[in-house]
């Protein structure tokens, strides 16, 4: 049976507490091409926000802006925690280091003792089913295993903010389900504010409490995954039902 995240109730959201990510009037251009145009949203602790939209609409750019890898042209981003984990689309493991050493980098700032560090790494790897791969190099792992290692590295610090960049893209359906399960478990156990950027139907349907649909640099629709399926918004309707008819392809084909 496929698990699905229970929709977060307004009471639980208030319970989960404080605002963790605030994005206000965010704009970003690459060369002369506007990618994001006046975007605003918030994410609370314990909430998982799904950002969906067609390829190239600026989904990953939002994550890079929130994590500070690039700077916005205008607008404001406030992240109320220094503990931030990012699961990269391509896992982004350092190939010259073992899985253990890759994980150790994430814990470097904590300056832990060797035994304590070893225990955290073993626990996190066990969580993603890779307890036996501690001394393997990334090139010795399959794509799914690399993705899971990237996931374990991102949560090594028990971050209060976790960002997922296309976590299931390029994976087979079974492995996608496994990764989605990890995202759900993470959200339930550690209660972080999470953002899942994806265009995979099952991923945003299963993992997100709330979704926003991006197109042309702006939020075209927002609501719950359930509401998305019955929405009359032309953008959401086209995206949710994967049809050619709709406003998203105008001027592109």
């Amino acid at each position: 049976m496929i698990r699905r995240r229970k929709p977060i109730s307004p009471e639980r959201r208030a319970e989960a507490g404080e605002l963790m990510i605030e994005v206000k009037n965010l704009s970003k251009r690459f060369d002369d091409r506007p990618v994001l145009d006046g975007l605003s949203f918030t994410v609370n602790a314990g909430e998982t926000l799904g950002i969906i939209g067609p390829s190239g609409c600026g989904k990953s750019t939002i994550l890079k802006l929130i994590s500070g890898l690039i700077v916005p042209d205008s607008g404001e981003i406030i992240v109320h925690s220094k503990e931030l984990g990012l699961v990269f689309q391509g896992s982004a493991l350092l190939n010259s280091l073992t899985v253990r050493e890759n994980m150790s980098l994430a814990l470097r700032s904590k300056r832990l003792g060797r035994k304590e560090e070893e225990k955290i790494i073993a626990d996190k790897l066990k969580l993603v089913g890779l307890g036996d791969y501690m001394y393997a190099f990334p090139t010795q792992l399959s794509g799914g295993q690399q993705k899971r290692t990237g996931f374990a590295r991102a949560i090594a610090n028990d971050p209060k903010v976790v960002l997922y960049d296309e976590p299931t893209t390029g994976l087979d359906p079974v492995m996608s389900t496994v990764i989605e399960d990890y995202i759900i478990e993470m959200a339930d156990e550690l209660n972080p504010a999470s953002i899942v950027v994806t265009h995979q139907f099952s991923t945003w349907q299963r993992t997100a409490d709330r979704i926003i649909l991006l197109h042309a640099g702006q939020i075209q629709w927002q609501g719950t995954p359930e509401e998305a399926l019955v929405s009359d918004n032309p953008y959401m309707k086209q995206f949710a039902h994967a049809t050619r008819e709709g406003p998203m392809l105008i001027g592109e084909i």
Partner: protein
Amino acid sequence: MTFSFPRKSLAKIHLSPWSFIEEQFGSGVELIGQCIILFCQTLYYIARAEIDWREVFRQCYMIGVKSFVVVSVTALFVGFAMSLQIARELVLFGADTAIGGVVSLALVREIGPITAGVIVAGRVGSAISAELTTMMITEQIDALKIMRIDPVQFLVVPRYLAGFLMMPILSIYAMFIGLLAGIMIAHSAANVPPATFLDSVKQTILDRDFFVHFLKAVLNATIVIIFSCAIGLHTRGGAEDVGLATTRSIVWTMTVIFIVNYIVTSLTYAPR
């Protein structure tokens, strides 16, 4: 007039020599600026003693130990060819006892550092550029930044220190191999005994020559590591850009090595 492909990183086709010069000059100035900033950041971390010595030793192996064979072969044959030319000319003037002095002067002052520098630029500089560019493209550098690890401290400082330690060793080694080649050629082609050859070396070489040799080696290490790291850390794009970055790294490091070598020579040996 310039036509460019849609992707910025791909090579441009220049239909006007002026636009070609303009772009080359612009990118050259930009690269030099990036190198200066990177070098200052590297020195900052070294001054703060924030050094991963394990990684430094690993890089010493990659940069230094793995270069010994190719430096040996190159220095040996450069030494053979140069000694043969010098011996041929000096024998004509009856100055065959001076072969050792002339060969050693050329080796200590120019050929030793240049040979080691060029070999390390080709073997190590290109590898560093390719590695760092690949790390940029596959978001490994971004992953380091997310984990609050400065790529300069983690990637550049160990490579710079390893280059700083290994380049003088490689350079002196290249000089000795070249001298060995000189002894062999002087003995076989001009009947100069090794003892005579070495006497001539002792009489000709000054302490200052060794200082200049060391200075050139250290400068070459700085040029190779900083230029190749700066190119690697500022390249975006895809697989093609890895190749372009590698080529750019070799062209820049070798060109700058030759220019700096001339500047050091002119400052230290120019007739007054």
